[in-house]
Symmetry: C2
Subunit: 346 residues, 2 copies
DNA sequence: TTGTACGCGTTATCAC
DNA sequence: GTGATAACGCGTACAA
């Protein structure tokens, strides 16, 4: 062989062992149980490590002890601030727990998402956090691995969700306090088993309880700004005709829609007339960046992420100890949102 | 042992081998070179796989053949739309290339980021994509592993960047065509070796070439909306005093700042007076969601991500073939941005 | 076309 | 406190 390093062979415990005169076992112990070595020998090994420029190989470690320190994540997308911020917070938990995250973005197609799950399992992930809505929780549960979902259907798995019902109650109550004559909630149609349905229920319950005139509008406003705009513009025209001379309290499904509505109104009136009060949902950046800062129901993304990771870590630790594992029941946590009053309400 | 599965031992090639009467090798071939088996035997093995409910173990595979199919990513944050959208596109390349992504969010601290790099290397990643600015490219290059950076200092590594200079040229030219009397570029101070510096240079070059009166304002407008607002409000007041009765063309560093500026003006005047023309940068959602849709220089995030992944894949493939590898020189790609005219310019 | 034997780099289980 | 040796699950010469 020539002089130059042709293969860049990696330094292993074996090399360290030969170099120091110890056995591989002792080198392993240096990392996993250093106190069992004499200080002198610890130093010898430490010197060898830097002399040989050793780099650890976690894959070999995983194969030997089964602990990959991997967590899988599947998010629906990253263009919605809610998801990217949630991912941000989840990833940041590395500092605290040391888990590494394998991240997939869903296309919404079941078959592809199953491929993701298969890949994740092939890498011995210890658990996963699912935000995508594609695979039913029953199927997720069948994988028999620690799972926590966030803000999605969660009948058969552990989850952390915003208390959407309470959020809607807060928003609706604020509009009532604003002395609105008619309350309108604009949202999309979706099944009653996903957490966001609580927003609709909360709105209806409070309106009925307080005996306030109200209307629920369920429609699909599309995915682009233009589609949102056209849809909400047409809704607003109907509303103005239907409820003239009444103070209208508009509870929008999210801040993006609230902003569209606000823009339409401000472009027409030059300002937000007293006749309209608006509350959004999420406290995404657009709510504060809007031409008139939007009152909104603030999801506590940081807290949700923290609780989700904590819950998952608990389950993963559980699994490392017990053998038969007493099938600890699933846990559903709720995080209460915070009403943020800005300038689209009194 | 009791009757219940206490350990959930995983099915391995050995189990399949015993079940079918073949050797492990043949099972391995079934996956990696199926054509070398008779069709009959392929079916036998396929049957065994589902009978025993086999699940592949990629970690073992990696340990044996060295190909982890892992790519590491370090992003500065995910609250900026630019980064989350870029991550989105990069992750989506899984469909095309099959690489799995280990994602870290930088805290900006060098020591911690080195820990991330160490972790990534410990898992035998085949390459990495770096968006964070923390570690100098010289140090990155020393890791001696395929690397592509995006929109950051890139002297010693391959990279894909927006052609910031051309973007600035387009924005500035648009303001000139709008017959502005004075052109102002508001940006932050940063070193001249990062790509974004091209925005400043492009602005200055065109203004001087066209002999247009101009001013460059370098300042740190802070990280929150409030800080942005206060800073830009004060800047605007100065500008109005300094250039009364002149048509002012304002080229902002990004759409977020452009939106803040726009909001300040619209709140004061009720609209955007002809006296002000505004161009942002990035084409982030806020540009189209603003009270008046903002003209901007659109970064082609999807294209940048695609080029970055392609470049990285090339390098990773290169490395799989050659032994001494002729140290293929580093590559710097530039993607031209697209000027998007909306309503804050004529 | 199929099988044998060993290597990948670490941990676990016993010994001493 | 330290060391042999056998896993962990799969790939790959080499042989047959």
């Amino acid at each position: 062989m020539g002089a130059l390093k042709l293969k860049q062979k990696k330094v292993t415990f074996d090399d360290i062992a030969k170099y120091t005169g110890f056995s591989k076992t002792t080198i392993s112990r240096y990392f996993n149980n250093p106190d069992s070595l004499t200080l002198e020998n610890q130093e010898k090994i430490a010197a060898a490590l830097s002399a040989l420029n050793y780099h650890e190989n976690k894959l070999a470690k995983v194969l030997a002890n089964g602990k990959s320190e991997f967590v899988g994540i599947i998010v629906p997308n990253l263009y919605m601030h809610y998801y990217s911020e949630m991912l941000n917070r989840i990833l940041s938990s590395y500092e605290q727990y040391g888990y590494k995250f394998l991240v997939f973005v869903s296309t919404g197609r079941k078959e592809e998402e199953r491929k993701y799950l298969k890949e994740l399992l092939a890498y011995n992930i210890e658990g996963m956090i699912i935000l995508s809505h594609t695979i039913p929780s029953k199927e997720l549960a069948s994988y028999n691995i620690p799972i926590v979902t966030i803000e999605r259907e969660d009948q058969y798995v552990s989850s952390v969700n915003t208390d959407n019902y309470m959020g809607a109650v807060q928003a609706t109550s604020l509009l009532i306090k604003n002395k609105c004559d008619i309350l309108i909630h604009i949202n999309s149609e979706f099944p009653s088993d996903i957490p966001a349905y609580g927003r609709i229920k909360g709105f209806l319950d409070i309106c009925e309880k307080e005996n306030i005139r109200h209307e629920l509008i369920l429609t699909d406003p599309g995915n682009t700004y233009k589609e949102n705009y056209d849809c909400i513009l047409s809704l607003l025209q109907d509303i103005k005709k239907k409820y003239p001379n009444m103070k209208k309290g508009l509870f929008m499904a999210n801040d993006t829609h609230a902003n569209v509505l606000l823009n339409i109104i401000v472009r027409e009136y030059g300002t937000l007339p007293d006749e309209f009060r608006i509350v959004g949902f999420d406290n995404s950046p657009i709510a504060s960046e809007a031409i008139i800062p939007i009152s909104t129901v603030g999801q506590q993304i940081e807290k949700i992420a923290a609780e989700a990771v904590e819950l998952l870590v608990e389950q993963m630790n559980e699994r490392k100890k017990r053998k038969p594992s007493p099938q600890k029941g699933i846990t559903h946590k709720k995080v209460t949102p915070i009403l943020i009053r800005r300038d689209t309400t009194d």
